[in-house]
Amino acid sequence: MLPSRSKLSVAVFLLPPLLLYGAAVLLPIAQSLFLSFFTWDGISELRFAGLSNYAFMFTEGDFWTAVTNQLGYLVVCLVLQLGGGLVVASLLISLTRGRELVKVLYLLPAVISTVAIALLFQRIYSMDPAGPLNQFLGLVGLDGLERPWLSDVHTVLTAVSAPEGWRFVGLYTVIIYAALLTVPRELEEAARLDGANQWQVFTRIRFPYIRPVWLTTSIMAVTYAMRGFDIPYLLTNGGPGQSSELVTTYMYKTAFLSTDYGYASAMSVFIVVESLVAVGLIVLVLRRKAV
């Protein structure tokens, strides 16, 4: 603590961030919580609804489909971003030249807006006319796999999740790579002298060493996947049927298309709780292992 500080100076420095954060984050959370106990369509009077929005939410099939889809989306994103990031970062470590360039190239998609990515992937997945993905499968003799990726109820969820994973693979690669660099060489060398193979070096030395970073990146990846919205919304708008509907897109439509603000707010509250629980679980799991 700075010895010369005064109560006033603390308040002066704290007020602007608190105001911004309060107006943009805390107040909306409080309001969502409030609205979730009401029925409101934007035109008629606000009506108290008690817990009926929540009761409906927990029994509605469409809502649970969206929850399940969001988890699927989360899994695809995590596998691509964290799994992919870890593998690529490990490969990069062994690269002697051009690492900087490769990192920049991997990061490129992160700069592109989601609208552009959605437009791009709409073409890439296209079946008729055949887009790059289907043409590529044809070229390498995998014609059997050619399909309308965004129309097939079995592939669409993966197809809308992959672009999100793809655009941030580079980001996580860069972070994990930086962490891997901090692993002391002596530790690895010592392990190898003791006869550890590549895999053991990784699981016994490297990974435990970067666990704190892994915790941070996991939290990042999970929260971003929970926020996932743009690409599914723009690519398929949740379709076909509800096959790629996420809680976020469902909430958005309920609010801004069905003008059912009360129910949408109940879903917002659910999303926040869900995110907090997910992050809590990650912290719990990774912390316990670290002990």
Binding site: S113, P132, G170, M220
Partner: protein, 304 residues
């Protein structure tokens, strides 16, 4: 948690220098197959990451027939800039870029000012509930942005902020604040206490210390915070799509939607040209400043 260095270096200072002497040794010992395989894999991944963008740029210069009929893996057999002319015709791309720039700079300014002040109050000045306040801010990292849509829409309508630049800047800055506050406070942790104590003994108050010591030292962290946040703000779709109504305020992501016609008719080649134009500014900034950004990402996650 592991820290890379005791004091943050200049952005762009490559860390490889510390490790490169040992790296070749490690590589030489491995079997050749492994090395070749990993090179191939890295190359394939580069193609996966970069090819869609190359395809985007190529598509924007081929003629419509060429685009409709050609193999996407072939080089264009035609070259035209018509699509760019149509892209500028259909939509006011210059305006969108300007709007994105205004929103990005505005939100960045808010994030930096509030982030610096908040971190200074919590980390440097300190007060009784500082840990609770810090925890409250950190909570914001986890909260999904969608929760703010409905309430903010209603609030904005009440106070007349709907369809203005601030309507986008406020939530973008608000949700960006927790992460940058975290980055700033972990950076402030590296500034030695003695620096402050010496200044205090010289009679400097909290405001002077902030202006004379903290601020000048933070320049690199500010660059990092701005770079990382800019990517998200520049590309924001959900707030702009919800709060902006008039053509004159549309940012790039929302403006690109203009290429989708009334009944859904899309002029694909013009769309790609439009996408190329709007992608280019940030792409150029990124290519020039990528070291600062990569440094920011690395330090952001590995420190603190």
């Amino acid at each position: 948690m592991p820290t890379l260095m005791s004091t943050p270096p200049l952005p762009g200072l490559s860390r490889e220098r510390h490790t490169s002497p040992s790296a070749p040794n490690a590589v030489r010992r491995r079997p050749n197959v492994y090395r070749v395989l990993s090179r191939v894999l890295i190359a394939v991944l580069v193609v996966v990451q970069v090819y869609p963008l190359v395809w985007l740029f190529l598509s924007s210069v081929r003629t419509e027939q060429d685009f409709a009929s050609a193999n996407p893996f072939s080089l264009p057999t035609s070259f035209t800039l018509d699509h760019f002319a149509r892209a500028f015709d259909h939509a006011d791309l210059g305006r969108y870029i300007l709007n994105s720039l205004i929103v990005t700079l505005g939100a960045d300014a808010l994030i930096v000012v509030c982030g610096l002040m908040g971190a200074y109050a919590i980390q440097v000045l300190g007060f009784r509930f500082s840990n609770a306040v810090r925890a409250m801010f950190l909570l914001g990292i986890v909260v999904p942005v969608q929760i703010a849509l409905v309430p903010l829409f209603i609030d904005y309508a009440k106070v007349g902020l709907l369809d203005t630049y601030p309507s986008m800047m406020i939530p973008l800055a608000g949700f960006g604040l927790p992460m940058s506050l975290y980055l700033f406070s972990s950076f402030f942790g590296y500034i030695p206490r003695e620096t402050y104590e010496a200044a205090s003994l010289d009679g400097a108050g909290p405001y002077r210390i902030f202006a004379r010591i903290t601020l000048p030292l933070s320049v690199n962290t500010i660059v990092t915070v701005v770079m990382v946040n800019s990517i998200f703000i520049w590309n924001d779709f959900v707030f702009a799509n919800t709060f902006v109504l008039s053509e004159g305020l549309k940012t790039i992501p929302v403006g690109l939607q203009n290429y989708i016609g009334a009944m859904g008719k899309t002029d694909w080649t013009a769309t790609f040209a439009g996408v190329c134009v709007t992608v280019t500014p940030l792409l150029l900034v990124f290519l020039v400043l990528n070291k600062a950004m990569i440094y920011g990402l690395e330090s952001g996650a590995t420190k603190g």
